[in-house]
Structures are given as C-alpha cells and as structure tokens.
C-alpha cells in the first residue's frame, strides 16, 4: 500500500525555494529561463506518461501523439478562431481526453501489456501521418507558426520568466491533483486493477471502465502539456507527435522513477539540464541518451528518485513492488520465465 512519505514534504520546501529562485539566480538569461519552462512542460508530460506506466502498469507508445494533438488544438483555436489561449489550455486537455477516451475504449477493452503498446503505437503513427499530410488544417511538415502567447489582464505572458512561473504553478497544480487522486477512490480502484485485475473485478471494480477513464485522464494531462508547449515556443510541427518526443518522455519517467510523484519531475530536470550540457555534441546526444536509457533500465530499474529515497534512510521502506518499473507485469505465462 502507498504510504505517504514524509520526504515529499520535507524535501518539498527547499526544492520549491530553488524552483522559485532559479530564474533570478542561476538561470538569468532568457535562453536559460526557456530551459526552465521546458523542464516544467516535460515534467507535466512525464507525469502523465507515468500515470499510465506507474499507476496503470501499462504502456502507451502513442503518448507523444496526444501531446502534439493538444498543442495543435490549442494552436489552431488561437490562430484560426482568435480564441484566447486560456480557452486553449482548457480545450486542449478536453479534446485530448475525449480522443483518449475513444482510443482507450477501443484498445483497453481487449488489449493489455504488449498488445496495448503496439496498438497505441499504431494510433500514434496514424496521428503523426495525418498531422504531416493534412496540409490545409495542420500546415503539413512545416506546421503552424506565430501562435499567440497567453495574456493576463491585457499583459502578454511573453517573457520566459513570466511563463516559467505560470508553468510552475500549473505543474504544482498537476502534482497536487495527482497526489489527491492517488488517495481517492478512483486512484485506489486503478491501482487495484494494476495489482491484480481478476481480483479487482471480483470485488466489483469495473476494470475496463476505470482503465479507460484513467487512460483518458493521462491523455488529457499530456494534451495540456502540449498546449503549454505550443503557446510558449509558439510553433508546432508534426514531429511533436513522433517517436522522438515519446523517447524524451520515456527518459523523463524512467530516469526519475515510475510510480513516484516527484520522479518524473526530477527526471525532467535531469533530462533538460543534461541534454543542454551535451548540446555541443549535437547528433551524438540521442546516441548517448539511448545508452543512458539502456543503463538505467539495466542498473537502476526504479529510477533516481526512489534511489534517493532509499539513501535518505529516514524513510520507512516502501513496499517493494511500488517503485519497480511495471511491477504489475508478472503475467508472463509459465510463471515469471527467468529463462532464455
């Protein structure tokens, strides 16, 4: 069972102070502040993917497609209909959530695990193809440009610093909602399915219903992150729906640690800063990230955050299964199958 760890609170204070002071102390020029914005955006995206991986114990290869979809929806509304980005921040998650509901309904009724991963991969690539080809609506390969930034009482949130604080508030909001949801009936139902689907069903938890809703919720969250991206960088293109961003979210989640609330946030910080640090290496970067991902999966399966938690000794041991990547996956026939 999930024990609310004291670390979450004691850790939180200095981290929050650092987060608040970062743009005025360490990250002083606008380029570096842009990195902070990116951290917040990837963190929301990572948290949403972790909802599928950590809470549901499933995997979606189409997650970046929902990210890009949210970005396009918000961008399109602002550009074509002149609707305020604020509305876009609501419309993007709603739209992504609805599409997630539909696709989740199609996919989760029948498939779990590996099959689900491949099905969502198919949907994701289909979405990417449409974004690339449907030129009149999506702008084709070059995408959409000059997306307006949001404005508050007539003041445009255009500077990196303002946008960072704006994104930080939203990120904290997302973390807060997620932590509430874990303890709520809904979150417990989802976890019970993750732990043992047949058992959950037998006590009257409708597995498909909860999984479809949870999937849709994660899609809405990543759609929201996409809208944040669109109005900050002010352009969108089909790559946002592609496997490269999928890979980035995957690194954010796995490096940080699945099934932990702060893991993906930490993963996002690590990813953005390391990738910035390696910027001079250009095309070698993704090669290195591939190696890093493999090493993390090999040697630190539960990620950096749980490793830190363990190191900080004051904590009671969390239940063993919780921090493991896909701990629900003992469904391998012939009992765990250590062979090969």
């Amino acid at each position: 069972m999930q024990v609310r760890s004291p670390l979450r609170y004691w850790f939180g204070v200095p981290v929050l102070v650092v987060a608040l002071l970062a743009p005025v102390s360490l990250f002083t020029n606008s380029y570096n502040r842009g990195l902070l914005v990116l951290i917040a955006i990837y963190a929301v995206g990572g948290l949403s993917l972790d909802y599928i991986m950590g809470e549901m114990g499933q995997f979606s290869f189409g997650h970046a497609a929902f990210w890009g979809f949210g970005a396009y929806v918000s961008a399109k509304l602002a550009l074509d209909l002149g609707i305020s980005p604020w509305f876009g921040f609501v419309a993007a998650p709603v739209a992504a959530g609805l599409v997630g509901l539909l696709i989740g309904y199609i996919a989760l009724r029948r498939t779990r695990g590996l099959e689900l991963a491949i099905v969502t991969l198919g949907f994701g690539v289909l979405a990417w193809t449409v974004a690339l080809r449907w030129r009149p609506v999506t702008g084709g390969p070059s995408g959409l440009r000059q997306i307006p930034p949001p404005s508050l009482f007539g003041w445009e949130i255009r500077s990196e610093m303002a946008y960072y604080y704006f994104a930080l508030i939203l990120l904290l909001g997302v973390v807060f909602i997620l932590s509430r949801m874990r303890e709520a009936r809904f979150g417990r139902a989802v976890r019970s399915i993750h732990e043992n689907e047949d058992l959950a069903k037998s006590i009257g938890v409708s597995a498909t219903k909860y999984y479809v809703l949870a999937f849709s919720f994660a899609c809405a969250m990543v759609g929201f992150s996409g809208a944040l991206y669109a109005h900050h960088f002010r352009f969108v293109n089909p790559n946002l729906l592609g496997l490269q961003y999928m890979f980035i979210f995957l690194i954010v989640v796995l490096v940080g640690g699945t099934g932990t609330l702060w893991g993906p946030v930490m993963g996002s910080v690590i990813f953005v800063l390391v990738s910035e640090w390696l910027r001079a290496l250009q095309e070698y970067r993704f090669l290195i990230f591939g190696v890093v991902l493999l090493l993390v999966v090999l040697f630190m399966p539960s990620g950096v955050y749980p490793a830190l938690q363990k190191a900080s000794g004051r904590l009671r041991e969390r239940s063993d299964s919780k921090g493991q990547v896909f701990s629900g996956g003992q469904k391998h026939e012939s009992g765990g199958a250590k062979g090969g």
Binding site: G122, R133, G329, S334
Partner: protein, 287 residues
C-alpha cells in the same frame, strides 16, 4: 480502367509485400517464441542495408559477397542483441524488454545517422535489366528480391516444422517451463531465435537496396509496417504473417495508385485498427 497500371501496381505491391513478409516473419518469430517485441528489428534491417552500402561502395566487394557477409555478421550480432537487451530483462515484466529494445533502436538509429548521415545511399545492383511483360515493367533485380524472400521464408518454415531445432524452438514458444523440464536448453533456443531473426532482418535490408536506396531512416517506418502485418495476422503466427504481408503490400500499392498516395502508409494502420476492433486476436490468431 487501365489494366497495365493495375498490373504494374500488382508488381510493385509484390515487391513491397515480399519485404513486409520477410521483415514480419522475423518479428513474429521473436514474439512467438520469446514473447518479446523487438523494437530494434527495424534498425537491424537498416543496418543490413547501410553495411551493405559500406562493404560494396567503400570496401569494394560485389553485391552477393557483400550481402552474404552482412547477413552473417548481423545474424551473429543477434546473439549480442539477445544477451544485452533481452536476456537480462526476462525475469522482469514483458514491458521492460520493450524499453531496452527501444533504447537499442535509438542507439542504432542515432549512431547510424552520425556514421552515415541522413542522405539516402544507392547500392549497385548485381544486374538490372527491365523486362516488359504485357504492359508491365519488371526488373530482374526485383525478381531476385521476390525469389530470395520466398526461399528464405520457406527455409524458415521447413526449419521450424521439420528439424529438431525447429521442434525445440516451437516447444519453447509454447511452454517455456515445460520445454526446460524435458531438457531443452532454452537459453540456446533464445539465442538462435534472435540470431535467425536478425539474419532475416538484415536479409530484408540487403534486399531493399535492390529496389530502393539505403538510409538510416528506413528502419522506423518499416518497423511500424511490420507491426501492422503482425497484428493483422495474429501475433506470433509466422505463416499468417506471410499471407498478410503479401496482401497488405499489394493492396497498399493499389490504394496508393487509386485512392491517395498521401495516405498510403495510413492505410496500413487503418486496416490494423479495424482488424483489432473486429478480431483482436488477428485474422489467423487463436483466441
């Protein structure tokens, strides 16, 4: 309706369908035996094509010698793929293996982009005459491709059904624990399965350059097409993958000709999604 155009598209569809067949056969084999989805399968094909380019253009080997060398080397690399990205994770969840092979795929893709750059490279075919059959233009290199594909898949089929190794392989796929209990060395079976699969993947790579160019970016679209074939056929069903690969190759070409070139690839995913809705276990899969 112009029959020549239809005939030409049937031929083109046969070419791409043959590639799908040999590609999906390897993917399906690994899934069927090991219940592992090898996300790096597309990059193994890509490496086959790029290495062939290197040994023919830069080292100066002929096409056939180069192709044989590349396939053998890549097959041996399959052993490493198993030992580095699959075997360490087998005790853990199935999904972890997806992640490790995704990591491998990213390493291979980005490594290849560094080594070869993203511009497509041409490889000289051993022969390339154009034969006009009715109104349809057929290349001899294309005939070679189709012939080799079907020989390879037939050989795989015979190996699985007629040899002792094939029986061991199928037994391992059906019941790992049972196979071990009766004394089958499942570790060796897993090794040979990935060796065969990478060999097939590389063979697809060296055949692709007969009708197209080699580029580091050819792996990912092929992987996704391969999944469409494997899912429509039913996961792990090698024989089904052959029929579906051919069918999808041909209908995709016709779709591209008569309906929309733009959404040609989208066609495959739509077929995949429809099949999943109506028959989630695939056309030839058992429930």
């Amino acid at each position: 309706m112009n029959w020549d155009i239809i005939g030409q598209q049937l031929w083109n569809g046969l070419l791409s369908g043959s590639i799908y067949v040999i590609f999906a056969a390897g993917l399906s084999l690994v899934f069927g035996v090991m219940r592992v989805i090898n996300m790096a399968h597309g990059e193994l094909t890509m490496l086959g094509a790029m290495l062939l380019y290197t040994v023919t253009k830069l080292v100066g080997l002929g096409y056939f010698a180069g192709a044989a060398l590349v396939v053998v080397v890549m097959a041996m690399a399959g052993f490493l793929v198993n030992r580095v990205t699959v075997r360490p994770f087998l005790g853990r969840s199935e999904l972890v293996v997806i992640l490790s092979t995704v990591a491998l795929s990213f390493m291979l893709l980005n490594g290849s982009l560094v080594v070869w750059g993203s511009t497509p490279k041409g490889v000289d075919e051993p022969f390339n005459e154009i034969v006009k059959l009715g109104g349809v233009y057929i290349t001899t290199a294309g005939l070679l491709l189709v012939g080799v594909c079907f020989t390879a898949v037939l050989a795989l089929y015979l190996m699985l059904t007629r040899t002792k190794l094939g029986k061991k392989t199928r037994a391992t796929g059906q019941n790992l624990l049972g196979a071990r209990l009766i004394g089958i060395n499942t570790t060796a079976v897993y090794d040979t399965t990935l060796i065969m699969a990478s060999g097939l993947a590389a063979l697809a790579g060296v055949l692709i350059v007969l009708v197209s160019t080699a580029s580091p970016n050819l792996g990912q679209p092929l992987l996704i097409t391969g999944f469409a074939v494997v899912i429509v056929a039913g996961m792990g069903n090698v024989a089904g993958a052959v029929a579906v690969g051919l069918f999808l190759g041909v209908t995709e070409a016709l779709f591209g000709q008569f309906i929309s070139t733009y959404y040609r690839q989208g066609y495959l995913y739509v077929v995949m999604i429809i099949v999943l809705l109506l028959r989630p276990q695939g056309l030839f899969g058992r429930k």
